[in-house]
Symmetry: C2
Subunit: 414 residues, 2 copies
Amino acid sequence: MNKTILAEIISVGTELLLGEIIDTNAAFLAEKLRDKGIFVYRKSTVGDNILRLTTAIKEAMQRADLIIIGGGLGPTEDDMTREAIASVVNEKPFIDDQLFENLRQMFVARGREMTENNHKQAWLIESAIALPNPVGTAAGWFVTFDEKMIVALPGPPHELKKMWHEQVESRLPISDQFIYHRTIHTAGIGESDLAARIGQFTNMESPGIGTYARNSGVDVRIAAVAPSIEQAKAIADSVIMEIEAILAPWIFGYDDETLVSAIMKQLTAAGQTFSCVESVTGGNLAAEITDCPGISSCFKGSLTAYTNDVKIRAGVAEELIREHGVVSEQVVLAMAETARKMFNADWGLATTGVAGPDGLEGKKPGTAWIAVVGPNLEWSQLVDWPGSRQMVKNRICRIVFQSFFKLLKEAKCR
Amino acid sequence: MNKTILAEIISVGTELLLGEIIDTNAAFLAEKLRDKGIFVYRKSTVGDNILRLTTAIKEAMQRADLIIIGGGLGPTEDDMTREAIASVVNEKPFIDDQLFENLRQMFVARGREMTENNHKQAWLIESAIALPNPVGTAAGWFVTFDEKMIVALPGPPHELKKMWHEQVESRLPISDQFIYHRTIHTAGIGESDLAARIGQFTNMESPGIGTYARNSGVDVRIAAVAPSIEQAKAIADSVIMEIEAILAPWIFGYDDETLVSAIMKQLTAAGQTFSCVESVTGGNLAAEITDCPGISSCFKGSLTAYTNDVKIRAGVAEELIREHGVVSEQVVLAMAETARKMFNADWGLATTGVAGPDGLEGKKPGTAWIAVVGPNLEWSQLVDWPGSRQMVKNRICRIVFQSFFKLLKEAKCR
């Protein structure tokens, strides 16, 4: 008989309910729990309020075996997680000598004064063991109570992640079930069209198949649960090959692969390099490209040319800008060619357009020209998709990467 | 007697519980509700499961007046939000002729085939009015039931945001309470130190004062609630000036201001410009700089020089790289000077280092040199802070912007 372990995640912080920050911890924890074969039943966010937090913990304990709480371990009075857990398990917190000494030394090492506020960061209760925090003042708690586990971790993402790996993972209950999953990334096909094409598989009980519309395109996720990872993989693999055959024209990668890593694969196989001259995307192309480990094997660099003067100095003919405007097909092609020459690369990508909020040359925010120039190839496209400044930049990057990937694929087939 | 309106946000999607995507909708909705004087009591995330979603909606309705549901309106069988709401209000969905016709025309316009799957995107129930979706196939629902309101919006963030502004905001109940809030951004002081310095204010009942550790530094948020926005502002203002006086050395901005917008303010006041040559940050400096509206008034551009060859062509002396290594103080200063010359700017910023996962020149990932060079000023610093590739890039950007802001502030005072 298999034991399914159910978990809930509680994020604590009024700022999360005010929309001031985006909760990245919950996604991290959910992914890590999934990889351990632990199912997340629900995620909740509550404010810095002892009563609401206590209620949320009690409710979660009725549904789940394991409660992970992120946040509320800071030194200030609105950090209430310790108080809430102590109340749920009905124990009285005390100052732990070892935690207090660690804390004192940390303040000495940083040359900062330890305030009265910080004392509660040395609290502990009988049912808890302390989880040391090597990068901050907030120690975590690992509580075992009433056959349930409660884990409390500090809110800053780099502290939470480090402590998860070093302190929490090894203490988790071991699931008798394993999840095998694979995500297929596609671009250039709509979700309902894709779903209809693989309709004969999406109704199956196992493996479970879901489709998700993402920025990069539509993802298909295939997941199977079984008593061993090998069995789970076998169940998933039985349909993965069939789905691949159907979606082949649109697939660009799997799992952690991105459009950029797919582009890198193609370029390194061909022994080619690329570079960019960016205007409207303002460095976003380069930033996303350089997020990809190993990209220096084929990426030479990017020029963000934010004034006409910089574009002209780099090699774009002044007459082109004067005659056609800076947001024009002629200029974007000249920019892509400049990228090739300036960086001595095989392929050049370029963007020019209006990010907003103001217009330019009588053109609306969201209007942009993009280009890809390579050996024996010149390609350009007009993009017209209004939105906020960040949305415009991100979408143009998406279209550039999708187009470049497609052009590389086609070039290979010729 | 004031009526406080309480809201809850429910995000729907198994992918959110699997940690595959980060929930940005919930933060957007929370912020918008706050601005309307509506208090968010709790946020929850549930999977694509009719029973769990129905339970979550029922629970939320016991605590709140207004339930906003994001996601689960897609065309596929695991999109269950319509079914769940219909079950909660005990009504039977029917196909709405107008919605069906809109949907049909949208598919015609896109040259795509409408599948059987899509039919449920034309569903409606008696208690709901349809909220048109101008950018996607999933219409929203606005349900009035049992003196409560339930709003269902599609999950893709650009659809949800557009429909919120165009369809939902004007239909929300009007709160008799108003929240005035102001956020003070600081850099260079730790949270507990800051909290101790303003300790006499943080215990007050009203305004409420919270401190939050962010990437950019520590934020102080002052919020007051009153029957009019003027009264709320007066309550908040009473302490804001005193807090400002205490924290003056560390304050760089307020509310929507960022380190980059604070830098822009200083530079435009001085009539100066800036530019970058980036290696380890790989375009992230430029991308973050160009997120700031109006930045073209002082930002000329950035070169992402991802190979030594590109750095040398741009103007960095080859001997410096050979003698000191590319991750060195000598090279980063030469890069910053190159930024000034190449872009004809007053200030040049530069970064060179190891983003990882592999080391370089015997140096570990996270090791980097950063520099700021300006009129009569040369500044550089060694950074050594290991982490993932993205973390390394982001942190180096943070330190560059903090340092540049501080140097500009000091230059002004001299």
